[in-house]
């Protein structure tokens, strides 16, 4: 426990350490010694318990930069690994407190009851991330065949020098973008409806690419996981050649945790 006395205060010739917090889980969780951890070299993940809840933490050297790709991956992999076995509330990347005591005094003690309640709510439920993406040729082809005006403009511009038709090409692209946006709204809704009866909740994330169809997090009960996958499979079959589907999970419930109310 010698490290617990350190407070991150600089002392000559001494490494300054902080305690990095990954998430909150139940008291009975144990972490293997080789578990992913932030830092270079990676720290050792420890479980700090308080009542029914526990924080997953590891020591970090606060004088070294945090946020390398390996750090980001370690944060998510630890949480996803725990989430497969026990309820866990992910904490946003980058949370560091000054001491092991601070994990208890500033985090677990003031928020323990809320964490316990949230953990009970998330128990037996898993997050899945579904990313659907349009097949470029298919969706642009749809837009052209459904919008004569767009098709005519494309026809008129074909073979014309690019620099002389820049404004028209922007106009053409904008019309296609609007049509794709309308399809995105409609198809996001379709996807949600296709799995609605087998999920607890959904959270729509914003598109990150112009050919994104939908980017949705779903919360699914343990017993409904195969129903969920089957429902998605039907969507994939319906959209074969038009949309590609990517399913990630189960992962920790990143999209379904609420910030706790500030302590009184």
């Amino acid at each position: 426990m010698s490290a617990s006395a350190q407070t991150g205060q600089a002392q000559p010739g001494q490494q300054r350490v902080g305690w990095y917090i990954y998430g909150i889980t139940t008291k009975d969780v144990e972490i293997n010694s080789g578990a992913p951890a932030v830092g270079d070299p990676p720290g050792k993940v420890e479980v700090v318990r308080h009542g029914d809840v526990a924080a997953l933490v590891s020591q970090v050297d606060v004088d070294r930069p945090l946020g390398r790709p390996d750090d980001l991956l370690a944060h998510e992999r630890l949480l996803d690994g725990v989430a497969a076995k026990a309820p866990v509330l992910p904490i946003r990347f980058g949370a560091v407190v000054a001491s092991r005591e601070a994990v208890l005094d500033e985090l677990l003690t003031p928020h323990g009851d809320e964490f316990a309640r949230a953990l009970r709510e998330i128990e037996g439920r898993f997050e899945y991330l579904v990313r659907a993406k349009y097949v470029e040729r298919a969706v642009v082809g749809e837009v052209l065949s459904e919008n004569p005006t767009v098709a005519q403009l494309r026809e008129r511009l074909a073979g014309q020098p690019e620099e002389a038709t820049r404004d028209e090409r922007i106009q053409l692209g904008q019309m296609i973008a609007q049509a794709v946006e309308a399809k995105r709204t409609e198809d996001t809704q379709k996807l949600i409806e296709a799995v609605e009866s087998v999920v607890v909740a959904n959270a729509v994330r914003p598109p990150s690419n112009e050919f994104d169809t939908a980017n949705i997090a779903f919360l699914v009960e343990r017993e409904r996981q195969s129903d969920f996958e089957n429902a998605l499979q039907r969507v994939a079959a319906d959209w074969d050649g038009r949309v590609t589907l990517r399913l990630l999970g189960p992962v920790a419930p990143y999209d379904f945790v609420q910030p706790p109310a500030p302590p009184q």
Partner: protein, 139 residues
């Protein structure tokens, strides 16, 4: 490592066994519990960058990419196998400079993304410096 789930005919779902860095950036920088105000400090820069990335979807560059996609589709659907090479060849002869510009643009866009990622990493690094943490006695 990718596992293909095969099911009721057609339309395989891609099921990666673990998150890519892009998935992780989308997820853990933007989601999850924010436990206290001082924790947020290290994340402000990231949030701004995330918003930037979303705005890109409605930009002139996006429109031009859609227009190009429409143009490509036209060539591909014409069914004329000589059309594409002919056009490419002609384009090279007639507008070398213009093509150079277009290529340059693509390059710049890719570099822009790399810059943004580097910038993001830098910001995470800067913002995660100990000086930003609430240490009370450290300031």
């Amino acid at each position: 490592m990718t596992v293909q789930t095969s099911g009721g005919g057609g339309g395989a779902i891609d099921r990666p066994s673990s998150s890519s860095l892009a998935d992780v950036v989308d997820t853990i920088l933007d989601k999850g519990l924010v436990i206290d105000a001082y924790v947020r400090v290290s994340l402000i820069g990231i949030e701004l960058l995330t918003i930037d990335a979303r705005i890109v979807i409605a930009s002139v560059d996006t429109y031009l990419r859609f227009a190009e996609a429409a143009n490509r589709l036209d060539l591909a659907q014409s069914g004329n196998s000589q059309g594409l090479p002919d056009l490419l060849h002609g384009g090279q002869q007639q507008g070398n400079q213009q093509q150079g510009v277009e290529q340059g643009k693509g390059q710049a866009a890719i570099e822009g993304v790399t810059d943004k990622l580097n910038e993001l990493t830098d910001q995470v690094q800067q913002l995660a410096q100990p000086g930003r943490q609430r240490s009370g006695e450290g300031e």
